[in-house]
């Protein structure tokens, strides 16, 4: 579905990605693991068009995405839940969700997706008229994911959905991610929490200083001695 090849990205001349290659097949959850500064966020931002690569290819179902601005890539069905949630604090929960459906015009289908999101996150329904900046951290993460789902995306990019959440909530969010995937959305998941990510992912990649150093099925990665030492704390 998505294929990224030889991706090179730099910030003001300082390289962040040095030839990242990865692929995501339809229906999969793919985990992208790596330490702080490895380039995970940079990879997602480049896929969604927030950053322009120096070189490399990003192809979604045969169509190249390189060079297209972020708001056009959204139209291809890629929703990106950015690092740090980035919900609109001054808009209400409902307005945030409706912004997620901004490019869509099919009112009936949008209403259906709103129902689906509110079923997935009942907490959001209770707070639908509340200004988003007053939500708790966990609720904000739910809103960020819910807002992305309002696009009814084919591919969902998630950047550290567990960041800053209590363990119970992390588990709940991961269960929801599995639900979303079962309902037909392909997911590329960036996580520091490698154990949790590998528990729900089909495949994974390990990124180190801007290059993919390991790739394999979730089971292979979980059994890999280097991964166990470096990311699973053994």
């Amino acid at each position: 579905m998505l294929s990224v090849e030889a991706l090179e990205v730099a910030y003001g001349g300082i390289p962040a990605l040095n030839g990242v290659a990865l692929g995501v097949d339809r229906g999969e959850i793919v985990a992208l693991l790596g330490n702080n500064g490895a380039g995970k966020t940079t990879t997602l931002k480049t896929i969604s068009g927030l950053l322009r690569p120096l070189r490399g290819a990003i192809v979604l179902e045969g169509e190249s995405l390189v060079g297209a601005p972020a708001h056009r890539i959204v139209l291809k069905g890629i929703a990106h839940v950015p690092e740090g949630r980035r919900i609109f604090n001054r808009l209400t929960v409902r307005e945030n969700l409706m912004m997620g459906a901004y490019p869509r015009h099919d009112a009936a289908a949008i209403a259906g997706d709103l129902d689906r999101v509110l079923t997935l996150f009942p907490r959001l329904e209770e707070r639908i008229g509340q200004v988003a900046g007053t939500l708790s951290g966990g609720e904000q993460q739910m809103l960020a994911i819910g807002r992305a789902l309002m696009l009814s995306p084919r591919l969902l990019l998630l950047d550290e959905p567990s960041m800053g959440l209590a363990p119970v909530l992390v588990e709940q969010i991961f269960e929801t991610i599995v639900d979303i995937n079962r309902q037909g959305t392909t997911i590329l998941l960036v996580e520091q929490n490698a154990a949790m990510a590998l528990a729900i992912a089909h495949r994974g990649y390990v990124l180190e200083t801007g290059t993919v150093v390991l790739a394999g099925t979730a089971a292979e990665l979980s059994d890999n001695a280097d991964v166990r030492r470096a990311y699973l704390g053994e």
């Binding site: 927030l50 001054r90 808009l91 901004y102």
Partner: protein, 323 residues
């Protein structure tokens, strides 16, 4: 001190203050909306405002020249003026952003500010040049519409002109439409989303550049309407007439809390009232020691006082609390 006189003129002064205030409010919206989205002060907005007044006067003079002015019903004429002023100022604001601000968007903050000041001077002299060639004069007088000058006495001391009512009703109508647009429509929500986080907004599929253009357009439209109302109300305009009202409207926007839309409306009205009351009462209250010419000093002193105690402006805090 003649206490009865102070009481008697009160309603008249209130009315004058409201008219001035609504005018400031309309102009202030242009500053505050652009600031809300770009954190940038569009110093050329005072000229975008006065260009609206010129568009209006051109329509009026054109109608008059063609001999149609007296034949047409005055509400239609007024509507025509407003539409012309709004369209010209709105398009001008969008053009200025495209040419003079957008290429500088990633430059250090001071650079687009300097560009805006440059645009401001450029537009002043451009209007002067165009009008000098076209009419051989750049001080222009709004032809009077007789119906607008009709006054009716409410009491012995208060009389209201149709003009004043028109200005207030038009301004209120525009503010109401703007409120609905920003708070009740999808595109308005997108404007607020872009104001808060451009990158996140683009991830929603919002074309940030289009929203920025739209914001300039709306600000320009409000400014253009204010320009026409200014011309209708005060009669005489020249290419430099935008400067002082623009500066005051900018102050009103800061007073209300820059970036805050209800704040700009409130700030405009407060400033208008302060100015009108200072103009009428200073001399009466000080036994002539301070005349009406001190109105700006008085109004701005009050502003500075308010800002000392509320540095984010009258409504500026609300945004922060919700953020």
């Amino acid at each position: 001190m003649d206490f009865q006189l102070l009481v008697d003129i009160f309603p008249q002064v209130l009315l004058d203050g409201l008219i001035l205030g609504f005018m400031y409010a309309l102009i202030a919206l242009g500053y505050t909306m652009v600031y809300g989205v770009l954190e940038f002060i569009n110093f050329a907005h005072s000229e975008i405002f006065i260009v609206g007044a010129f568009a209006g006067v051109e329509i009026l003079l054109g109608l008059k020249g063609a001999g149609w002015l007296d034949g047409l019903p005055w509400p239609l004429v007024l509507l025509l003026l407003l539409l012309a002023g709004m369209a010209v100022s709105g398009l001008l604001a969008v053009t200025v952003e495209r040419i003079a601000y957008r290429p500088l968007r990633s430059a250090p903050r001071l650079i687009p500010l300097i560009s805006a000041i440059g645009v401001s001077f450029f537009l002043q002299d451009l209007i002067r040049l165009v009008e000098s060639i076209w009419r051989n004069a750049f001080n222009l007088v709004y032809p009077t519409l007789d119906a607008l000058n009709l006054r009716f006495e409410l009491t012995e001391t208060i009389d209201v002109s149709v003009k004043s009512i028109v200005v207030i009703v038009a301004a209120l109508g525009m503010l109401w439409v703007l409120h609905l647009l920003v708070n009740r429509t999808k595109i308005g929500t997108a404007i607020r989303a872009v104001a808060e986080d451009q990158a996140a907004a683009s991830l929603m599929g919002i074309d940030v550049n289009r929203i920025i253009s739209l914001t300039f357009f709306i600000g320009g439209v409000m400014g253009g309407a204010a320009g026409v109302l200014f011309g209708v109300q005060y009669g005489l305009i020249n290419p430099y007439s935008g400067f002082i009202p623009g500066l005051k409207a900018f102050t009103a926007a800061v007073l209300g809390g820059i970036g805050n839309i209800p704040g700009a409306m409130l700030g405009g009205i407060v400033l208008g009232l302060l100015e009108a009351f200072a103009a009428s009462y200073l001399s009466l209250l000080t036994g002539g020691a301070f005349g009406a010419e001190y109105k700006d000093i008085f109004a701005f002193s009050v502003l500075i006082l308010i800002l000392i105690f509320r540095p984010k402006g009258l409504l500026g805090e609300i945004v922060r609390e919700r953020a």
